[in-house]
């Protein structure tokens, strides 16, 4: 199955929420929608789910245009940011309710729910209410519900944002394995670039409702098509050089080297990051962040340089990549 978005638009009160958005998610592929809050990533997900109607454009699953099909008939498995578990029902009943609504025979309901409970290792919690579960367990119930839908497409809306940082990292491989095991296309919304890179084979970066760039994490990092993507992907953030030319030149902190006879700098701030250390340097090009091995001592005179092939050039007007 393939999910295809074609020239999707959504306008509310004369404001573009989504602007001319097109992309494809292939069978068994996880695409991350990445961007700052308000960039339209959750709105895109709601359009795919059918919870909102697009102003223009169409959505396809394989050859089938589903734009006008209602949310309840789209067969979409969605995990909400809040998990949206029914607070008055036990885990078992939470999972059964959808099957009951779709009028599956009782025996089939039971079989399916219990097999999913066992896949998710939730059997011991079947009789608990959502309020009696931990964040990680709630996420598993929400995921179990999506699995039970036997969907054409999986949509995940910041499924990790309610978990603490350590748990998040632990759960990533497991979550990735589970959602990709069925071979459906997966759309994964996040604002965390690290999570996007870990979960997805391709990332779509959104800004103000438009697609900035779509590609593999490596492509986004090594060849950002716009200044926005260059700044959004990669930590510590890319340096923008203050060189008064007619284009923007940017260089990543990790591409800068100590170089004799290079640009003179003064150390302003030093940060330890474990394997690396981050220097903030004052130079004729403005403030520059530089990433060094942590065992390097600060020399008396700091002079830096970089290979010109590592530079990224962007248009001053449009912010788009030049070269």
């Amino acid at each position: 199955m393939t999910l295809i978005l074609k020239n999707l638009n959504r306008i509310i009160n004369n404001q573009w929420i989504i602007r001319d958005l097109s992309f494809e998610v292939l069978n068994g592929e996880c695409l991350a929608l990445l961007g700052p809050s308000g960039c339209g990533k959750s709105s895109t997900l709601r359009l795919i789910a059918g919870l909102d109607k697009p102003t223009g454009g169409s959505i396809y699953i394989d050859q089938l245009d589903i734009t006008s099909i209602s949310a309840s008939d789209r067969k979409i498995g969605m995990v909400f940011q809040s998990y949206a578990l029914y607070p008055h029902l036990s885990v078992l009943k939470n999972l059964t309710l959808g099957l009951k609504a779709r009028k599956l025979p009782d025996s089939e309901q039971k079989n399916k729910v219990w097999s999913v409970l066992s896949i998710m290792q939730l059997e011991d919690f079947a009789e608990r209410k959502p309020s009696e579960l931990s964040g990680g367990q709630r996420q598993r119930v929400a995921l179990a519900r999506a699995l039970l839908r036997e969907p054409n497409v999986y949509l995940l809306d910041e499924p990790m944002s309610n978990l603490d940082a350590q748990l998040r990292e632990e759960l990533r491989p497991e979550l990735r394995r589970l959602i990709l095991s069925g071979g459906q296309p997966v759309v994964y919304v996040t604002h965390d670039q690290e999570e996007a890179m870990a979960m997805a084979s391709r990332i779509a970066v959104l800004n103000n409702g438009s697609l900035e760039q779509i590609g593999t994490p490596k492509e986004l990092y090594s060849k950002p098509l716009s200044l926005f993507v260059a700044k959004f992907i990669g930590r510590p953030q890319i340096n923008i050089l203050n060189n008064q030319s007619n284009e923007i030149v940017a260089i990543r902190p990790e591409d800068i080297n100590l170089q004799e006879g290079g640009i003179n700098c003064k150390l302003v701030h030093q940060e330890w990051l474990g394997k690396n250390q981050l220097w903030q340097l004052q130079s004729d090009y403005g403030l520059i962040r530089m990433l060094n091995e942590s065992d390097i001592d600060v020399p008396e005179n700091i002079t830096i340089g970089w290979q010109s092939t590592k530079e990224h050039h962007f248009s001053l007007k449009t912010g788009k990549r030049i070269n």
Partner: protein, 284 residues
């Protein structure tokens, strides 16, 4: 702790506990204009009289009939109004404000209004009936249907109150739940019975219990609309107790009626609670 709790406790004792104890005491005494308003013990004679009093049982039936009909209709209308006001549409704010209006009106004022609406031959209802060429139905002077008029007045006045409680409840249900259910293939009717009503149940319980207790003690509305008539067919227990105390000046028996109706009320609330538990079990 006791210092903080004391004012509320004192208030409750003065306003509820002491009068109740005094009622119990009075109810086992003869205290009327005949005894020169002296308390003379009569060892349960009031209670025997109450047990044999046809009018007390008739009024009990009428009070329960009034309470059950009003509260059921109010709950049904209130659910509908709350669901409507929970949707987003143009002019919702204005309608929401207007909905509260009947509840904000003093009962006496609106009861007078309803008395005029049902008035024969000048009220609008009778006018419409005669314009359409039908025979006058004399609503307020017909012992078989006058009670319906009082129910209409009560439903009109107190539905907004329950609707408001339910609306607060509806707005506390996250929209996510409905969206998740829709994506699972659920219809909006199924969402109503599986999500909305179960999550509203605390609010429904508050509404039902509160209104049952209030409707059971109905006095002002009926006093003004019909005065308990015709032929005491709309008389409530509160009205009967008032009649005994204020017109017949028989305070001993009046206190006994109030206590008798208090016991009935406790039973009615238990009944309401049982019915509610049955409603809770309905699914899909």
């Amino acid at each position: 702790m006791i210092f903080l709790f004391a004012p509320a406790a004192l208030f409750l004792i003065l306003v509820f506990v002491l009068p109740l104890i005094r009622y119990c005491w009075i109810s086992v005494h003869a205290l009327s204009v005949i005894t020169n308003l002296e308390m003379i013990p009569n060892y349960g004679a009031n209670w025997i009289r109450l047990y044999n009093d046809q009018r007390f049982w008739q009024d009990s039936f009428q009070t329960i009939r009034f309470t059950v009909t009003s509260v059921s209709l109010e709950i049904l209308f209130a659910i509908a109004i709350a669901l409507l006001l929970d949707q987003r549409w143009r002019g919702r704010g204005v309608v929401r404000a207007l909905t509260i209006l009947p509840w904000a009106l003093p009962t006496t004022v609106m009861a007078l209004g309803w008395r005029w609406i049902f008035n024969t031959p000048h009220g609008p209802i009778e006018q419409i009936i005669s314009l359409l060429g039908f025979e006058s139905i004399n609503i307020l002077s017909n012992p078989n249907i006058a009670w319906i008029a009082t129910v209409i007045g009560d439903v009109w006045k107190t539905t907004p109150f329950i609707a408001l409680i339910l609306l607060a409840g509806l707005q506390s249900i996250p929209n996510d739940l409905y969206e998740a259910f829709r994506l699972e293939g659920g219809s909006s009717r199924q969402a109503l019975f599986n999500i909305t009503i179960p999550l509203l149940k605390q609010y429904l319980l508050i509404g039902i219990l509160f209104r049952t207790a209030q409707a059971f003690g109905v006095f002002d509305l009926i006093q003004i609309m019909t005065g308990g008539g015709p032929a005491s067919s709309t008389e409530s227990l509160a009205l009967y107790a008032y009649l005994n105390a204020m017109r017949f000046l028989d305070f001993g028996y009046s206190a006994t009626i109030m206590l008798g109706s208090f016991i009935l009320l406790v039973f009615s609330c238990l009944l309401a609670w049982l019915i509610f538990n049955q409603i809770k079990k309905i699914q899909l």
